[in-house]
């Protein structure tokens, strides 16, 4: 299964996703796949804060770029994977001058294997960044376009999509599945 959780900065999307994931029962492993890299002290503090928010049963994997290989490897291991977050991954791809199109293509291909499979559950957290005015910097505009395009692609293949506002979920998509957690 693919659950896509979209929200703004400090919207509570990570906290909501953790609770959502912890309510999923019948799985052997719970992986928290973190794409955040501490480039400065402010970022380091945020990462530490997020670590504290997670309870002990989460196994943390820190991977800024090669998230696709983890998704490939963790398939069919009865795992809940919380990928937090896609927009930081996009940011890292730009930072390390990776090919966005190529990486996304591989990512989507692997992700599609999770679609509709109830024995594997991936929760993808992402920022909505396109609801302010046009940013002045060209890099910021590029980032905004890439993040937006990725969000559209992910939403399209996801089994369910939530938009989190102030910690509260708005259901955007629910397809071919009616479970107890909704």
């Amino acid at each position: 299964m693919i659950t896509f959780v979209l929200g703004g900065a400090k919207s509570g999307k990570t906290r909501w996703s953790l609770r959502y994931a912890e309510d999923l029962t019948g799985f052997k492993n719970y992986y928290y796949l973190a794409t955040a890299e501490a480039h400065d002290e402010e970022m380091q503090e945020k990462i530490e804060l997020h670590k504290k928010e997670r309870s002990a049963f989460w196994k943390t994997i820190e991977e800024p770029i090669n998230i696709s290989s983890y998704l490939e490897r963790l398939k069919d291991t009865s795992s809940v994977i919380l990928l937090d977050c896609l927009t930081l991954w996009v940011s890292n791809l730009i930072h390390y001058r990776k090919s966005f199109e190529e990486e996304i293509k591989i990512f989507i291909e692997i992700l599609e294997k999770y679609k509709g499979h109830e024995r594997d559950w991936i929760i993808l957290v992402s920022n909505e960044v396109g609801l302010g005015i046009v940013p002045e910097g060209k890099l910021a505009r590029e980032f905004r376009e890439k993040a937006g395009l990725l969000n559209q692609k992910i939403a399209e293949i996801s089994d369910e999509v939530y938009f989190i506002v102030a910690g509260l979920p708005l259901l955007l998509k629910q397809k071919g599945f009616t479970g107890s957690m909704i």
Copy 2:
């Protein structure tokens, strides 16, 4: 009929609106009324990309300012008109130093003729730009205020309003009409 489609940058609002419009049957003409003007290369690329997204049966009209006269002219021609987008129009009005209040007044007056009329269908695409922090530039703040005010006015007179997030629609308003496309 007036359908108002609101969304962020790269939210998929144009693509969604095109599909929505193409599903409307029983009309003779399909006009894509584009307000975009290429002030630089980046903009030119966006316009070309949008052109490619549209299938052949769309007739494109490019008009940065005088959209009201087209709405006036196309009334009672059994047309679906996709106006993309209102925020660029606002931006053009500011750029060409037009009177915002006056232009909006004329626009709303003509638009109201479409309200509730099932033989004419106008789809208005617009950006939501007010969900980031206060912009530093005065011009950006003015643009944000004008765009927000216009969005409120349009939403008020529209027959239906959708908010697009990551390509998925949230229905905000549906009034006096229950059709098959919803």
Copy 3:
């Protein structure tokens, strides 16, 4: 009762809240608790515009910081209180170098007394500011974080939460209450 109204800049959240409040009957007083302070002419104009929007039966209290003491005092006076807005209050707390954590703690404690009580009704208006790209300034990022955290906290204890887009409400939360105004 606590109604939380969240929305972007120029989303019509104040206007919607005023109408919502004016539809609440059976109360003796209607207080408009304004946190806005005119630091410049632009702000002064906005305050004057907001004043005009309110009808005569609203009693206006202007208080940039000590809103908690007013909530304390107005409890059990059969009042509808419209607090507009929380994000300006956060901005003022930062401006006057108040302790955010301490002020929020006191505020939440008093606010909780309104929760579920049908004889007192407080409507809290706030801006959603986290749906654009990461702001460049450190102060702007801090403000965005604080505003987002406060919005989460308020949403959590509120009886009902609305997200306003282009003047139209999206119901985010509705709990233990089914009234005629919904």
